[in-house]
Symmetry: C2
Subunit: 411 residues, 2 copies
């Protein structure tokens, strides 16, 4: 309750646990405090090598950098290479991800809150578009505060049909910049009894709607009371074949489920976006682990996006932890980043500021790593199809070998 | 070929890529080079918190520390706590993992090589036993050099039946110290045509053999020519119910397969050991990712063990990369560590020296995290059983939604 609303501009409040303030990201903290040859080795251990070298940065046009300075958002750009092949040309795609805090206090009129987010995003999307980004992804439920902690149903008013105002807003940028845009919204399904979903809309580079995907796994942890608002998605694991590659969307909590990542891989995804909203005390040490593991295990790129700042709500709520009621969800720690199938990854965007991360990726790397490491070939899917079919039966009994010398006791 | 044989003692050779020499581990490198309050925050981001605090160390008996000084092996000890429960007592188990280099040159008589490894391990196992370790795990194929890179079949002579001399050697320690020991060996199956397997033998705390598990996934990457020697295991995903908890073994390359980790979890494992042999240039940035992800996703502890040093073989071999023949496998970077279901993890043992890592873990943490995060409950296994059953059919077609405005081109 003591925390203040984190508005639009670059307000650096520091670590969620208060232990150290004012630092922007782990990467910068290490770079600023280690001597260069030690930093180089630490960086190799933490972010890997791409084609045998540390990840290279990209120089962006002045229009993008001046927008970032003017509007105070973090801007970083990197390049993932692949080896040259004889039979395929490189397939370099420029991907952008945007993280942002909300713009107005949650007490403002809903319509004003949404418009203010549109306004704040405009220059960041322009920076992406003018930098030649091919595929852009926004954070989970970007068009509203992440109000599900409150359990108040009035926030459902933010929900929109797939072709609603947020989609219309983004379609103009898709068309203007010839850019695929992934928009994660709170959806209201008008044709099926006005039910609410957590949905990613995929907008094609001609401004058309290619399709949608609904969040497969819904959390019941901490203040993530999302299961109060919507159910597990009913759209399977679609891969969207766009002008710039085959992409899929694993929304937020789905990143904790290796089978969810797997299914997008089985359907041929080369880039999986993970638009998220998650807070420091709960998940921060998991954040760099799960996405990178998914990229390694499934031989695709993963783009991880988390919102930024602290959102304070009008009415205090309890968290089921015996502590007094409070009015905020904790610090959304940003730290958006991109992981590659070769186990390398970009540094993260700021923990505190809005940001745009741009990354060139040669999609040929996916199949190259597949051929090198052979995970698909050695995966024994038939064995696991059987294991899971067996497991879901009511009479499943685990495969346990007990020490015969063990005197049984109730554990 | 320029690399020298890394013998038994503590010989610090530094980074596998030569960029920086003489450091022992990432953790120590950061601790020695960052001021304490910055290190504290970096450590929080990298290794998480356990019950809201940084991981605590354990003070060991003087007998163990003097053995480590006398024999030059790294010795570290930590403690994972769980919350107090009303209906269950804490179930604290002391787990030990040992990493080591080989002892004699690979040109020595095979019998002498094996005996020399026994001799070198004796004081390290004694240090574990006298520290009250309940479950001890050695590295993959600990009783021999990791000779599969050579593709020479003569190394098969190292193979033993499950009740062979390596098992007999360890049974005496199991009995003496009331300690479960997991022994990963090259197995020869006498009863089935003398076939070779990569097998973990589980020795009970009374010195009895509880059972075995054979490596499920066999690599075909880099110099890991193991598929020349043995096939994918035929023992399923057994969980061994020992006097000190339910354990399983995911051998080496199996750590790249999320379904393998999953199956051990479905069968009820609370600790999964990952005895490995892996080298720096290939896998080092993956090493801390995959084990931690498995611990998080499956709500169990993971103990990761990698061998140490560079092993040089008598006859040079090529690596299928167009480079000249060479005689070593690269630097086995040690870095054994333990990951907990709450996303915290221990620092790693040395990258260069033999080592013993001891960790107390309250197994109640597994179910506590399961209840808190709800991954099992929200996992939709029925959906994925169907997905995999569908995928393994010859006529499987991926779920792809193509942009209708996309002019088809061959990607």
């Amino acid at each position: 309750m003591e925390k203040t609303q984190n508005g639009g501009a670059a307000k650096e409040e520091g670590g969620g646990d208060g232990s150290i303030c004012g630092y922007d990201s782990l990467h910068r903290l290490l770079k600023d405090n280690l001597n260069p040859h030690i930093f180089q080795e630490v960086n190799r251990l933490l972010t890997g090598l791409n084609c045998g070298k540390p990840l290279q940065t990209i120089a962006l046009q002045e229009s993008a950098t001046s927008l970032s300075l003017q509007h105070g958002f973090d801007l970083q750009a990197f390049c993932f290479h692949a080896d040259k092949e004889l039979l395929r040309e490189p397939r370099v795609v420029r991907v952008g991800v945007i993280q942002n805090s909300i713009s107005l206090p949650t007490t403002a009129h809903f319509s004003d809150q949404k418009k203010a987010i549109f306004q704040k995003l405009k220059p960041i999307i322009d920076a992406a578009g003018s930098s030649g980004v091919n595929i852009l992804c926004l954070q989970e439920a970007w068009m509203m505060p992440f109000a599900f902690c409150t359990r108040e149903k009035r926030w459902c008013e933010f929900a929109e049909p797939v072709d609603g105002e947020s989609t219309v807003f983004l379609q103009s940028f898709a068309l203007k910049y010839n850019m695929v845009i992934i928009s994660s919204i709170l959806e209201r399904d008008i044709n099926h009894g006005e039910v609410i979903w957590n949905t990613a809309v995929v907008i094609g580079n001609r401004g058309n709607i290619i399709g949608k995907h609904r969040k497969n796994h819904i959390p019941r942890v901490g203040d993530f009371n999302e299961s109060t608002y919507y159910m597990e998605g009913n759209t399977g694991h679609p891969v969207f074949e766009t002008a710039f590659g085959k992409i899929a969307i694993n929304i937020c909590y789905g990143r904790h489920h290796p089978l969810n990542w797997l299914a997008f891989g089985l359907n041929g995804a080369e880039i999986v976006f993970n638009p998220s909203a998650t807070v420091g005390e709960l998940s921060e040490p998991m954040w760099p682990i799960e996405a990178r593991n998914a990229a390694i295990a499934n031989n695709y790129f993963v783009a991880s996006i988390n919102r930024v700042g602290t959102e304070t709500f009008p009415n205090p709520f309890t968290s089921g932890d015996g502590k007094p009621a409070h009015a905020d969800f904790g610090h959304f720690y940003g730290s958006s980043h991109i992981s590659a199938p070769d186990a390398s990854c970009t540094p993260s965007l700021s923990r505190n500021r809005d940001g745009l991360l741009i990354t060139d990726m040669d999609l040929n790397l996916c199949r190259q790593v597949k051929d090198k490491w052979g995970f698909r070939m050695t995966s024994r899917y038939d064995l696991y199809a059987e294991t899971l079919a067996h497991y879901v039966k009511p009479d499943f009994e685990p495969q346990v070998t007990s020490d015969p010398l063990l005197r049984k006791k109730s554990l």
